[in-house]
Structure formats: C-alpha cells, structure tokens
Amino acid sequence: MIEILVQVSKIIMILLLCLYTIECFTVMTRKDAEVREQIINRQRKFAFMLHFLAYLIMFAVKMDIKYLVFYAVQVLIFTLFLNLYDLFYEKASPLVVNNMVLLLMIGLIMLTRLNFEHAIRQFVFIVAAIVLCVLVPLIIHKLTFLDKLTWVYAAVGILALLVVFATATVTGGAKLSIDLGPVSIQPSEFVKITYVFFVACMLYKNTEFKQVLITTAVAATHVLILVASRDLGGALILFVAYMVMTFVATKDIRYFLIIFAGGCLASVMAYFLFSHVQIRVANWLDPFSDITGTGLQLSQSLFAIGTGGWLGLGLFQGMPKSIPVVESDFIFSAISEEMGLIFALSMLLVCISCFIMFLNIALQIKNQFYKLIALGLGCVYGFQVFLMVGGVTKFIPSTGVTLPLISYGGSSIVSTVIIFSIIEGLYILREDEGEFFAKKRRKTREKAQKGRKEKEQ
C-alpha cells in the first residue's frame, strides 16, 4: 500500500511543480494586477501541497512522528513569513518571494530524506536568513550611501578571501571555510555580494579606461585568490559577473571581448598549471575510466539521474547516498533520482525564472548603480545554477558549487537569501522611482495646463 502511495504522490508532486512552473512564466505576460494576484496565490497553494505530499510520504515510509513535527514547524514559519512579507512590502515582487520559498521547501524535502539532522540545521539557518530577508529591503531603501562604500567592499572581500586562503584546511579539494567553533562559515559565499557592490560602485558613474583598469585589477585579485584556494567554481562565477557588468556599464563590446579572451587564456593556463584542473577535465570527458577514484562522484551522479528516469524512483526508494557529498554539490542528482528528471528540470526552470526576474529589474530600474547591482547578482545566481546543474550532468566539467537555496550549507543559504532580498529591495525602489517619475510628469502636465489657462485668460 505504501508503495502505491509513494508512486502516486510522486506523480502528483511532478504535476504540481509543473503547474507551478508554468505559472512562473504566465505571470510575466499578464498585466492585470488582479489576475497576477490570483496566479501568485495559486502558486502558493501548489507549493504548499507539494510540500505536504512530500512529508506525508516520508512519514508513511518511516512511520516516525518527527517528520510530521518538523513539517508543522516549517509550515508555520513559511506561512508567517509570506504573510508578514505581504504586509510590509506590498511593492515587492511576489514571484521572487514565491520562488524563494518553493526552492527552500524543495531543498528541505530532499535534505530531510538524506539526513534529518542536517535538515534541521539547515532549517535553523533558513529561519535566521528569513529574518534578515525581512530587514534587507528596508536597509536598501534607507541607506542611501551604499554606493559610496566602494573600497570598504573591496577591502572586506579581499581580506575575507585571504583569511580563508591562509587559515582554512583543505576539504573536498578546496579551501573554503573558516572554523568558528560550532559553526564554520564560507566567506566566498558573501564575498560574491560585496564584490558585485564594489564593481557597481566603481563603474556606475565613471567608465573611463583608467577606472576600468583599476576595477579589473581588484576584480582579478579576488578571482586569483579564489583560484589559489582551489575554489574554481567561485572564481568562475566572479569572473563572469565582472565580464557582464563591465560590458553593460561601458556599453563597449571591446571590453567584453578582451576580458573574455583573457578568461579563456587564464583557463588554458590553469589547465596546464594545476593537476586538479586536469583531473576535473579528464573526469568530465570520461568519468568511467577511474570509476572508483576521481570519477566516482560524476559516474554515481549519472547513474542516479539515469536510473531515476523521467518520473524518479520515489522518496526513499533510490540510493542517492551513493554519491559522495550529495547534500551540497550533487543535490540536483538526488532530486532527479528520487523525484524524477521532469521534477528536476521543472525546478531548473523555476531557477531560470528567478534569473529572468533579476534581469528584469536590472532592465527596468533607472538608477545605474542599482541596475549594475541587479545585473551582477543575477549573473552570480544564474551562472552558479548553470555550473551546478551542468557539472553534475556532465554538460561541463564539474566545479563543485552549491545549488542556491537548495543545497545543504548555511553560508550558501544565508547569502542567497540576502541576494534575493536585495533584488526585492530593488523592486520596491523601482516602484518608488515610478512614483517619483509619475509625480514629475503630473507636475509638468499641471504646469502646462496652468500655462494654457493663463494664456486663454
């Protein structure tokens, strides 16, 4: 009986997520505020139903009350959060909030299945992040000197990365985190944000050659420290964000081409200089030749995705734990194995819809500083999703990055929630901008009318 429940709920969960995903894209095309609100509310229902079914299955399979308790606490927190957010930030983008909550839910479902203790730990970080999430838009709104802190961002970023480089021990082939007693933090997750702010500060007013050169030097310092710490994924993400931001700020394709060529050259050099880069590439080309050694992760990941098939094996029915570090770097494969490739691809589309929302605000907002921020953060987020999913499916060499909001890892969760909140803050600012321009227009119109009236008189 339980098997039937697992299999039937599996299909319903796939349907729910597909419906949710379709709504992500239809909502973008609708202009009518009321229709939009209906869609947003429907999406929330789908997300909560999916969440409910997943925990119901896990409870049914394990028959352990802890799953229900954990579920209830989650529902409470997420409902509270959504209602508070609606109340405080009427002008925020509800799609971005929905997506964030949905992705957090999916991550929690999979983590609960993989490792209950880790799921609890993750949830604690999520609660902390959500509190921040409520505050960040306010900060963005009130602090008007954010664009003046150029060198603070640079100093904090480089310092943090240097501390990691100097003190961190190597885990999983890279130096990533600083140990602070009970918790360890991964500064590189937060440096993504300070870095984007720094580049935006540098380039939003002044794009002369000298200015670009200085920015490049500082940006390159960030990237090189990451490469030296063997955090190739992080280095690539910062590099791409910089390339895109510079191109948009300068509107000069030559910068783009030069940076792109420089990046290619650096990659080739890295390949010949570092044996670990060569190993990554060799594993990408043929993970099966060293199937018990360096190719283990990727081949197990492909086995997981392939065996799961389109519909997945069902929660607790597969063997996702056969993939090393499945909870962080390979969670996409675990989701694909047990919840199905359709589910995993739908989830990827939700991530893409977040990315589109990031670019959307970058296009709409008038203020160049905020425009660059939105663009930079969008690139950071979008490219990270690409590196993660591409890496575990053998589309590109694996770089060992997390899937934002879904993978296990406190720093990753908190920094991504902050990024989403900044974007929300920008959506709110845009509405203000809108009002500001509307007022201006109204005033000029009134003036004109006055003038006409005076003439008539």
Partner: protein, 456 residues
C-alpha cells in the same frame, strides 16, 4: 546578454534530455551502479532466451518466495549466457539492468503492488541459436578449446562455446569447487590468448598484397626447409611443396614460402596493417576479452620474423578476433559490430529496446577481400581443408597447427573461415582445439558439423 544566458540554459536542458533519452540506458547498466542490487531485491529477474525462444536462464520462485536462478541447459551456455551470483558475466552482465526492470502493462504493475507481489523483469532475447550452439558444443566434445560463429552480414553472435566449462547452476553453492578447477571461468572464445599458427598467414598475405598490389605474382620453390642467419624453418610434417604461386602457398599452407615472404616485408608497415586488423587494439565487443598481440617490430631478429610470418613467435590471438576477421573478409571488408542481445521485450512480447546492426569499419579493402576469398576457397578446393566441400554451401578458410612447445603433440588445432550460399545465407567461424595437433584433423571436422547444421 540575457539571451546568451538563456541560450546556454536551453542548450543544457537539451543536453540533459538527450542524455536521458539516448545515453542513460547504456550508462546505468554499468556494474558500478549500486542501484542494481536495489532493483534485484524488488524484482524477479527476467528470462534470457535464445533466438528461437528457448529458455536459457530463468528465475524459479518457490512457495516460500525463495528465488533461484536456473539454467536449463547447464554447461552448454556457461560462458555465452554467464551467471549472476558471485558476480555477473556474459549476457547476464550485459543485460543486467534490463532483466531487473519491467515494462509490463501498468495495470499489472499496480495489481502486483496492491497484492504485494514482485514484478518480473523484462525478457532478453539473444542472437544465440539453440541448434547451432548445441552442435558446436557437442562437436568440441571433451576437448578444450572454443568455437565462435557469427553472421557476417549483421554481426549477430550465433554460437559461442568455451571448454573446459562448468554448470552455472552450481555457481551459487559450489563456487569454490568451480574456481579450483583449471580456469574454467575463462571464456576462451574471447579471453583466450592463443598462438595463431598458420591462420596468421591471412595477415602475412594481406601485408604482401599491400606492398605488391593485389595482382602481384608470387612464386617460390619449396624444398621443405629454408635457412637464414642460422635459423632453419621446416614445413609442417617436413613436407616438400615444390614450385608454388601465392594461392598454392596459402592453400597448402607452406611455412617456407611464408618465412621467405616475411623476410622481404617492411615490418613497420606490417605492424600498422595488423593494428588496422585489430591486433594490439580494442575489439568492438561487449564480452570481456584479451587483446590480440602482434609481436614483431623493425628491431625483431631474423628468427622472429621468419617464425612470426606463419604465426609462431610471440604472436597471440583470441578466437573471437579471428572469427571477426573471417566475417569481414566474407562481407567484402566491412566488419559488422558483433552483438549477442537481439532485443528486450516485456511480458506481452512487445519490444522495449532493440539492438541495431551497426557497421564497425572496413578492416580491409574490397579488392583485398576478394583476393582473400579466392585464396581461402582454394584451401577448401584442394588445400588443407578439403573435408569442407559440400553441395549445400561453399566453404572457405584457413587451417592452422600452432606449436606451443617443441614437443609435436603440444599443437593447437585451428580453423578460421566462413561458408555461404548464393541465396545470401552466410556464417563465419573460428574453431580452436587445444593441444591435439593438426588443424585439418581436429578443427575442420568441428567447423563442418556447424556448417552442416546451419545450412541444413
């Protein structure tokens, strides 16, 4: 910019879909995929049947639910079909995942779920022909050795026998006993590494044709022995062949002529040619195999070159490799990729997946294939394999008596060749009988029994 990003995402999704549709099936059948064990515990392993539908492996379920893998033909398919306890081999390995999944009608699956019965895995239909397999198995009798038969026009493996053998029904309980015997688990058809003896003259001839053109006139006067740099080579049984052209030298298997031919060949080119003929390289087959080895190089001694030219020295081959070469010659040069799994079907007989016949590549040119066909036919017409003359088919091939030590009874008996009928039916074969002696006396009659059965 945004479009660039969207484009790479679309490309990635496209790739993932492609992976799932076309690649996943092959990849997940890997024995390192631990999920097999998971499926094995939830499913009743499916059947393996011959091309005619004869059951070669099935799973019996007792009333208490205990599952036993049963091989109705015992030793006969021990290597071809393999076993699935204490490791998996043969078809059991190649089709492992297909046997552990079901494409049964969804209603049946739900019914089984509700009644908490296990589903039975899909059925794997092989290319092996029961009749041919049993003829080959019985023809080899109590000798050690191997027989491989493939259909040259499509690469289907029709029979594969290796001896000494074992009963796969005993693998679970009596594994220790089985492995204590003289390497019975080794599939000699693909993993055997034998001195090719005179069958290697096929390759020496091909190199001669390559260097002198396919219409070159070769003549040699055989006096029963040839000496060079202190090495003397005799013809088999100290026979004296007299004046020979290429066809007679090949058909009558004159060692002296080939030692003479080899001394005049460009050994570096010879190396390249044998590489192209799959020596020292991977074979396009799914069974585990031993690579054939061509040992000569431009630094080889005169003795090595003389001996190597008729397949002695350190040259080794697997029977499967030689069968593939014979198949390519029969098929005018083109080697079809050999396969043993014809298709997988569900319990209603609907096809789930099917192996497509696939051209591997041209091992030799059409011209050279035609010349080789003529030479190999001569072997049957008046040479060392006249026993293969038949009114039902036209046979061709090459015999071999490979000396494995100085004692004359330590000689492997070889036959490599094919037979066809103008109606289009054809069969390539390699037979090796270990340590019995002359190829004509032991290997040829076995080939004849297989041909007779096939063209009956």
């Amino acid at each position: 910019m945004a479009y660039c990003f969207i484009a790479i995402f679309v490309a990635m999704i496209g790739y993932i879909v492609y992976f799932q549709v076309f690649k996943a099936e092959d990849i997940i059948n890997n024995s390192y995929n631990k999920r097999h064990e998971l499926f094995a515990s939830r499913m009743i392993r499916g059947d393996i049947v011959s091309a005619e539908g004869d059951v070669l492996a099935t799973t019996k379920v007792s009333e208490s639910g205990k599952e036993t893998r049963y091989y109705p033909h015992g030793n006969m398919y021990a290597h071809a079909v393999g076993y699935c306890e204490n490791g998996t081999t043969g078809v059991e390995e190649q089709a492992n995942f297909s046997l552990l999944r079901t494409h049964s009608f969804i209603g049946n699956q739900i019914y089984n779920m509700l009644t908490e019965k296990k589903n039975k895995g899909d059925t794997v239909v092989t290319t092996l022909k029961s009749k041919l397999q049993s003829v080959a198995y019985n023809a080899l009798g109590s000798f050690n050795g191997a027989v491989v038969a493939i259909d040259p026009s499509n690469g289907r493996i029709l029979a594969m026998v290796s001896k000494p053998d074992f009963d796969p029904n005993d693998v679970k309980e009596g594994y220790e006993d089985i492995i204590s015997n003289d390497s019975v688990l080794l599939n000699r058809a693909t993993q055997g590494s034998y001195t090719p003896g005179s069958t290697f003259k096929i390759f020496t001839t091909l190199e001669y044709l390559k260097e002198h053109g396919s219409d070159a006139a070769y003549t040699y006067n055989c006096t029963g022995q040839i000496s060079m740099d202190g090495t003397t080579v005799h013809c088999y049984g100290n026979e004296v062949h007299g004046q020979l052209d290429l066809e007679h030298a090949f058909a009558e298997s004159c060692n002296c002529a080939y030692a003479n031919m080899g001394l005049n060949l460009n050994i570096s080119e010879f190396q390249k040619m044998t590489k192209k003929m799959l020596f020292n390289s991977a074979l396009p087959i799914e069974y585990p195999y031993t690579k054939s080895s061509f040992s000569l190089s431009k630094d080889s001694s005169t003795a090595s070159i003389m001996m190597g030219s008729f397949g002695q020295d350190q040259i080794t081959v697997s029977p499967m490799h030689l069968a593939m070469v014979a198949a390519a010659i029969e098929n005018n040069g083109m080697l079809m990729k050999p396969y043993v799994i014809d298709h997988v079907e569900n319990d209603a007989g609907d096809i789930v997946t099917e192996t497509e016949r696939e051209e591997y590549r041209n091992l030799l040119s059409k011209n050279n294939a035609k010349v080789m066909q003529k030479l190999m036919e001569a072997t049957v017409n008046y040479g060392t394999a006249t026993a293969l003359q038949s009114s039902k088919y036209k046979a061709a091939g090459k015999t071999g008596s490979a000396q494995v030590s100085d004692s004359s009874d330590d000689t492997h008996s070889w036959f490599v060749g094919y037979a066809n009928r103008s109606s289009g039916k054809d069969l390539a074969i390699a037979v090796i009988v270990e340590k019995q002696g002359n190829g004509s006396r032991y290997a040829v009659p076995i080939a004849k029994k297989v041909f007779d059965a096939y063209f009956d």
